[in-house]
């Protein structure tokens, strides 16, 4: 496995003088090709900022991000991004929403329509291709957003707490579907979340960020077999790892310092 993303001493500072906030400080880690990595941390620890820096949406104050050896300075076409909210265009059908990246890049829509149908079908949206986003549930909308992010077969899939707004049951279902589709596409995935179980369930490695300033607290390899099943969540190894991560969070005063 080769290293696909190198995050090299990335820092991000917002504001100036007494309003100055150090969001991220000296973030350093690598993501290997084909790996599924979660960035875990409590709200406000800068994990979303880190993801946006990797995506090229925000410039770091110091340090750099290398994707396949080249520094990321702007959004790239070989990246897919799933936002916290579905961010669908209400006037477009489900199918046309999934095909938006194809249109933006002036590629042949008819050629990619088959791929879009396949992706949407895999996520149970076969009968909703011509529906509008307003007719779908939150979970279905986020599925469309994932299909949109995957339509051009990105080498890197970035996800910013995509299931944060969903209920627990839908969320577990979405986790399974995401893993299924990820294993079929073989893309490298970087997933931001504040949910320990979700991070462990999905990932090959979990990067734990501390808060204010955000630094890499620890990296936990997850030695659970794939394909992951919901039953894994109740196995000893899974529970042990979750507890270990939770303890690491408490130890640095992240969760515990709060009332």
């Amino acid at each position: 496995m080769t290293e696909m993303i190198c995050i090299e001493r990335v820092s991000k500072v917002f504001g100036a003088d007494h309003q100055r906030t150090v969001a991220l400080q000296h973030i350093d880690f690598q993501v290997r090709e084909g790996e599924f990595i979660s960035v875990l941390g409590e709200s406000g620890c800068g994990k979303t900022t880190l993801l946006r820096i990797i995506a090229g949406l925000v410039a770091p104050s110091a340090g750099r991000v290398l994707l396949d050896g080249t520094p990321v300075t702007a959004p790239r076409r070989d990246m897919g991004f799933v936002f916290q909210q579905p961010v669908l265009l209400d006037w477009r059908t489900v199918l046309d929403n999934a095909l938006l990246p194809v249109e933006i890049l002036h590629l042949d829509k008819a050629e990619h329509a088959g791929e879009a149908r396949k992706l949407l079908g895999m996520m149970g949206l076969k009968d909703f291709l011509l529906h509008r986003p307003l007719q779908l549930s939150g979970g279905m909308q986020q599925r469309v957003a994932i299909a949109r992010a995957l339509i051009l077969k990105p080498t890197l899939l970035l996800m910013d707490e995509p299931f944060g707004a969903l209920d627990a049951i839908t969320r577990e279902q979405m986790n399974l579907e995401l893993l299924n589709i990820w294993s079929l596409t073989g893309t490298t995935a970087l997933f931001v979340t504040h949910d320990i179980a979700e991070a462990v369930f999905l990932s090959d490695r979990v990067v734990l960020l501390s808060s204010r300033p955000g630094t890499v607290r620890a990296i936990f390899p997850v030695d659970l077999p794939r394909p992951r099943l919901l039953a894994h969540r109740y196995e000893e190894e899974f529970v042990r790892l979750c507890r270990q991560i939770k303890e690491a969070m408490l130890e640095q005063g992240v969760g515990g310092a709060r009332p």
Partner: protein, 289 residues
């Protein structure tokens, strides 16, 4: 239906009771929560209209008003029927042209300039003082000078109507184009969309409902502009006809023109509403189940 009526004492009441029906339509019907079938509602609407005409008629009769002051509904209907047999149509046609041309011209300019301003901070800063000033200025006050400039034909009316239509569209276009959620702009950045793509695939579709809201207001304002333009100087058109009947004390004909104007305005407004529903059906969609 009869049971529905009886369950609606205040509004449906006996048509002869003027106290209830004069302030009828909106007033007493609003707070009631009784169930009405659609047929019942239609019956109530028809009933209230009949009641309105009866009250009008009774008013004229009781006060012994001359038809010079207030003609009865029957006299107005007579004048309307007479007018529709021939002489009214040319006036309707002229005024309709002024309304539609003014509306199209003003809307196009409003959307065009609104787009420019929404995209260029420089244009906004340079043009804004003029726009504020001209918005504060009552446009109808300019009607006499347009007659001097453009004569007695339809041109000055088109210009006035256009001027009045211009502002709601300018405002709504700017608002609509800027009302895009930040996350959607970020999505387009992430997809490496060009500025132009962000405009026509995101900002413009997002602005369309706003623009249509402006068009609905503008079409009604355009009627006002055309009529007032005709008041100032015209020999044809519904506004000119009103002025002419004022001179000749033909009050029934004047009232028949009011009826025509109401119908014209309503039809134009409805057309815009239907267009909006057809184009933006998705806005009214809701989740199934």
């Amino acid at each position: 239906m009869t049971t529905d009526r009886t369950s609606q004492p205040p509004a449906a009441g006996p048509p002869g009771a003027p106290d209830h029906t004069t302030n009828g339509g909106a007033g007493p019907a609003a707070p009631t929560r009784w169930y009405l079938t659609p047929a019942g509602v239609r019956g109530l609407m028809a009933g209230s209209f009949v009641a309105f005409l009866l009250v009008w008629w009774g008013f004229v009769k009781v006060l012994h008003l001359s038809s010079l002051v207030l003609p009865t509904p029957l006299e107005v209907a007579g004048a309307l029927a007479e007018g529709l047999r021939g002489p009214l149509w040319i006036h309707i046609w002229v005024t309709l042209q002024e309304i539609v041309l003014g509306f199209l011209l003003g809307s196009l300019l409003g959307v065009g300039l609104g787009t420019l301003i929404a995209h260029s901070e420089l244009a906004r800063r340079v043009l804004n003082p003029y726009l504020v000033a001209s918005q504060a200025m009552p446009k109808l006050a300019l009607a006499p000078i347009f007659v001097i400039w453009f004569g007695f034909g339809i041109t000055p009316k088109v210009v006035i109507a256009a001027l009045i239509c211009f502002f709601p569209l300018l405002e709504n276009t700017i608002t609509g184009l800027n009302a895009v959620e930040e996350t959607k702009l970020e999505l387009f950045r992430m997809l490496t969309a060009s500025r132009w793509q962000t405009f026509y695939k995101l900002r413009a579709p997002n602005a369309l409902p706003f623009i249509f809201a402006g068009l609905r207001v503008a079409i009604v304002l355009s009627v006002v502009g055309a009529i007032v333009g005709e008041y100032v100087g015209a020999n044809r058109g519904l506004g000119a006809l009103i002025i002419a009947t004022q001179g000749s004390f033909d009050t029934p004909i004047m009232f028949s023109v009011f009826v025509v104007l109401t119908v014209v305005g309503t039809v134009l407004y409805k057309i815009m509403e239907v267009l909006e529903k057809v184009l933006f059906g998705w806005r009214y969609l809701r989740r199934e189940g």
